[in-house]
Amino acid sequence: MPAVELTGVTKTFGEVVAVNDLSLTVPEGSVFGFIGPNGSGKTTTIRMIVNIFYPDRGSVRVLGSEINPSLTRWIGYLPEERGLYRKMKVRALLEFFGELRGGHNVSREVGEWLERLDLAHCADRRIDTLSKGMSQRVQFIAAVVPEPKLLILDEPFTGLDPVSADSLREAILGLRRKGTTVILSTHDMTVAETMCDHICMIFRGRKVLDGTLESIQGEYGTDTIRVSLSGGPALLEGLPGVEKVRDLGQVQELRMSAGSDPQLVLRALVERTRVTSFAVSKPSLHDIFVRIAGPGAETLAEEVASE
C-alpha cells in the first residue's frame, strides 16, 4: 500500500494553476524527495496531502484512505514557514502540539526527543530565547511527537549548522528505519541524492521527474564529464562535443552532446594542459534540476504541457 497516492490532482487559485493534473505515488517506508523550483507547486501539493487545501479535481489518498481530518493524527508536518508560540516554554509547547495531534499525554516522548536532539537543557526556556537552529529542532520534535506514520518535512535543514543537521538527518533516517514514510521537500540536491530512495520533481505545477535517483540519471545517460586540471576553466573552451561547461571551482563539469566521444575531449585536454582528474559519469541531480528549471525552461515547460 502506498503511503500517499495522488491521482490527477489539480488546484487553482483564481487564474493561477498551482498544481496541474498531478499523479504520484509515495512508497510506504521510503524517504521520498520532493524537489522543484520556488513556486512550482510543491507547497500546495504538500498542503493538499496534509488536508489544509482541498484539490479542485483528482483524489488524494493517504495511508490507504481518502484524506480526511482523522488521518492528521498520523501525519507529522514541518512546514517551510516555521512558526511557534514565541512566549511558550519549549516543553509546554511540545506537549501541547503532541497532545493536539495524538490525543494523549506525550511528556515521555517529548523528554526523549529533547535528549536526542540535545535540547534537554532548553526544556524550560521560552521559544523566543532560542537560536534559529534550536527553534528549528524544537519544531522538528513538534512534527514527530507522537511518532507519525507519514512525516512531511519542508526544507528541514535550512539554517542548521552541520552538527545539528547531522543529528536531524540521523533522526529522520531512524524514523524511516522504524517504518515511517518521509516526504522530504528540499532545494538541496545533495540532501535529495544522499537521503532519498525516490525523487519527484515538480515544475510549474506538473510532474517532470519521478523515480529513483538511478532511474532518473539513467534517463539522461552518461553525458557528463567531471574534470580538474591546471590552468582553470578558460582552457575548456572549444572542446569537441562539449555543449556546456559548469565551473564548480576546483572541478569543472562538462555536458556532452549526444553521440560525442569523451575520449576526444580527454585527448584535447591533455594537449592543452595537465589533467589531474577525469571522470565520465551520469549527470548530478543538481544538473538535471538546472536542465529542467534553468534558463531555457520555457521550451521544456511547453513540451511538458503539451504531453
Partner: protein, 450 residues
C-alpha cells in the same frame, strides 16, 4: 470525546490560559472600569469644585417694572443655595443682578458698552427686557412677527452652549413678569403666591399589595437618576466585558499569522476548529471578567446594604447577550485578523469591529428616554445591536413587551450563526495569505466562495 471537540477545547484552553496570564489582561480588568466609569467619577468630583465667582448680570429693563422682581429672586436664590446651612461656607456661585440705567441715544451703543464689560470679565452677561415682555400684543402673532420675531427678552453672554444661568433666569423672569401683570390687573397681592407657584409632579412607584399581610403598600418616591443608573451600569458592564473579551482577538490572530503558527496548527486542526477555539477562549475570557465584576459588585452592594439594587432577573439575559455578542464579535475579529497581514492593517480594520459596540452607545440616551419608541424598538431588534440595546430597554423600569427579547434572541442566534459561518470562510482563506492585505471586495469573495 469527539476528536474535533477535543482539539478545539485543547486549543481554546491554551489560548485562554496564555491570554489571562498576561499583564495586559490583569491590568485591563482593573483599568477598564476606571476608563468606563472615569467620566462619571470625574464629573462628580468636578461638581464638588464649583466655580464660586459671582455671576454678575446687568439688567436693562425697558419696562422699568420687571427688574426689581428679578433682583429679589436672585437674592432669594443666593440665600437659599449659595451657602451651606450650618457652616455658612459658600458652595455655589451667587447671582448678582444689577439694574442698569437706560442710556439716551442709540440702544446699540449701550449694548456695546455692556458687551465690552462682559469681554473684560466685569459682567457674566446682560439681559434686556423689552416692553413686549409684558404686552406682546396681537402683533406678536402676526405673519410679519413670525418671519422676523422681535425679542421680548434678550440675553447677551459669551458663555458656552449649555448655560446654567440662562436656564435659571427663565423661571424668575416669568415669575417677575407675571407678578407685574397681576398687579396691573389689580389681583390681590395675597393671592399672588398661589397663582405664581408652579405645580410640580412627584414621580412615585406603583402601589402593590403585600402578599403576606394583604396590606396595600404605599407608593415610594422614585429616584429617577437611580432608576437610570441600573440600565446604564448594566450596559456599560456588558460593553466593557465584550471589549475585554474580543479586543485582543484581532491583533492576536494577525500576530499568530505573522509568526506563521497557523500552518503548523492546520496540519492538525481544521480552520473551523482553530476559529472555534479562538472564540471559545474569548468567551472564557469574558466570563472570567464578568464573574470578577459581578462578584465584586455583589460584595460592594452587600457592604452598602444595597443588594436589592442588583437586577437579578436580568442576569440570565445579561449572560445570554454577553455570550452572543462575544461569539459574534470574536468570530468577526478572527476573520478580520486572518485577512490582515500586519498589525497596522488590523488597526485599520478595527473600526469595522467596533461599530456594533459604538452604535448602541451613541443612541443610548434616546433609547433610555423612550424605551418603547419606534426607534428604540427597531434598533434593538437589529441583531448586531440587540445585546446592548435590548438589555438596556429590559433594564428600564417601564419594561418592554415580553416577546421582544425572545425575537431579539432568535435574531442574534441566526445572525451569530451566519456571521460565524462567513467569518470561518474568510478565516480559512485569509489565514495562509501573505503579502498585500486583501481589498474589501476580495474578503467578500472569500466569504462567498470560501
Amino acid at each position: 470525546m469527539n476528536s474535533s471537540l477535543r482539539k478545539t477545547l485543547l486549543m481554546a484552553k491554551r489560548d485562554y490560559i496564555e491570554s489571562v496570564r498576561t499583564k495586559a489582561f490583569l491590568i485591563g480588568l482593573v483599568v477598564a472600569p476606571l476608563l468606563f466609569g472615569g467620566g462619571g467619577i470625574g464629573i462628580a468630583i468636578l461638581k464638588k469644585k464649583p466655580d464660586l465667582r459671582d455671576k454678575r448680570i446687568a439688567v436693562l429693563d425697558r419696562t422699568a417694572l420687571v427688574a426689581p422682581g428679578l433682583v429679589a429672586a436672585a437674592e432669594a436664590k443666593n440665600a437659599r443655595d449659595a451657602y451651606e446651612k450650618i457652616t455658612h461656607k459658600q458652595i455655589a456661585a451667587r447671582y448678582v443682578l444689577e439694574p442698569a440705567a437706560l442710556a439716551s441715544g442709540e440702544p446699540d451703543a449701550q449694548r456695546l458698552v455692556l458687551s465690552d464689560r462682559v469681554r473684560k470679565g466685569e459682567l457674566f452677561g446682560f439681559i434686556e427686557i423689552f416692553p413686549e415682555a409684558l404686552h406682546p400684543g396681537n402683533a406678536a402673532n402676526s405673519e410679519a412677527a413670525e418671519k422676523d420675531p422681535k425679542p421680548r427678552v434678550a440675553y447677551y453672554t459669551n458663555a458656552g452652549g449649555i448655560d446654567e444661568t440662562r436656564s435659571w433666569l427663565r423661571a424668575p423672569l416669568n415669575r417677575a413678569v407675571t407678578g407685574v401683570l397681576l398687579r396691573e390687573f389689580h389681583v390681590d397681592a395675597s393671592h399672588a403666591e398661589d397663582l405664581l407657584t408652579p405645580v410640580s409632579i412627584d414621580p412615585l412607584s406603583l402601589l402593590v399589595r403585600d402578599a403576606e399581610t394583604g396590606r396595600v403598600e404605599p407608593a415610594k418616591k422614585k429616584d429617577e437618576i437611580a432608576e437610570m443608573a441600573t440600565p446604564f451600569a448594566l450596559v456599560m458592564l456588558l460593553t466593557m466585558i465584550v471589549m475585554i473579551g474580543t479586543a485582543p482577538m484581532l491583533s492576536a490572530v494577525t500576530e499568530d499569522k505573522n509568526q506563521r503558527i497557523f500552518e503548523m496548527l492546520m496540519g492538525v486542526a481544521s480552520p473551523m476548529e482553530l476559529m472555534a477555539a479562538r472564540v471559545l477562549a474569548a468567551l472564557a475570557r469574558s466570563l472570567t471578567s464578568s464573574a470578577f465584576y459581578i462578584v465584586s459588585a455583589v460584595m460592594v452592594l452587600q457592604g452598602m446594604a444595597m443588594i436589592g439594587a442588583l437586577p437579578l432577573p436580568l442576569l440570565p439575559w445579561f449572560f445570554v447577550y454577553l455570550i452572543a455578542d462575544v461569539t459574534m464579535l470574536s468570530a468577526f475579529a478572527a476573520a478580520l485578523g486572518a485577512a490582515c497581514s500586519s498589525p497596522q492593517d488590523a488597526q485599520n480594520l478595527a473600526v469595522l469591529l467596533v461599530m456594533p459596540i459604538v452604535v448602541p452607545l451613541l443612541i443610548m440616551m434616546p433609547v433610555m428616554t423612550s424605551p418603547n419608541g419606534a426607534m428604540a424598538t427597531i434598533m434593538s431588534l437589529i441583531p448586531p445591536f440587540t445585546p446592548v440595546l435590548m438589555l438596556l430597554r429590559q433594564a428600564m423600569p417601564v419594561g418592554i413587551p415580553a416577546w421582544q427579547p425572545w425575537v431579539g434572541l432568535v435574531g442574534i442566534v441566526l445572525w451569530t450563526a451566519g456571521g460565524t459561518w462567513v467569518a470561518a470562510r474568510v478565516f480559512r482563506v485569509g489565514i495562509l495569505m501573505q503579502g498585500q492585505p486583501p481589498k474589501l471586495a476580495e474578503i467578500i469573495r472569500w466569504a462567498w466562495a470560501g
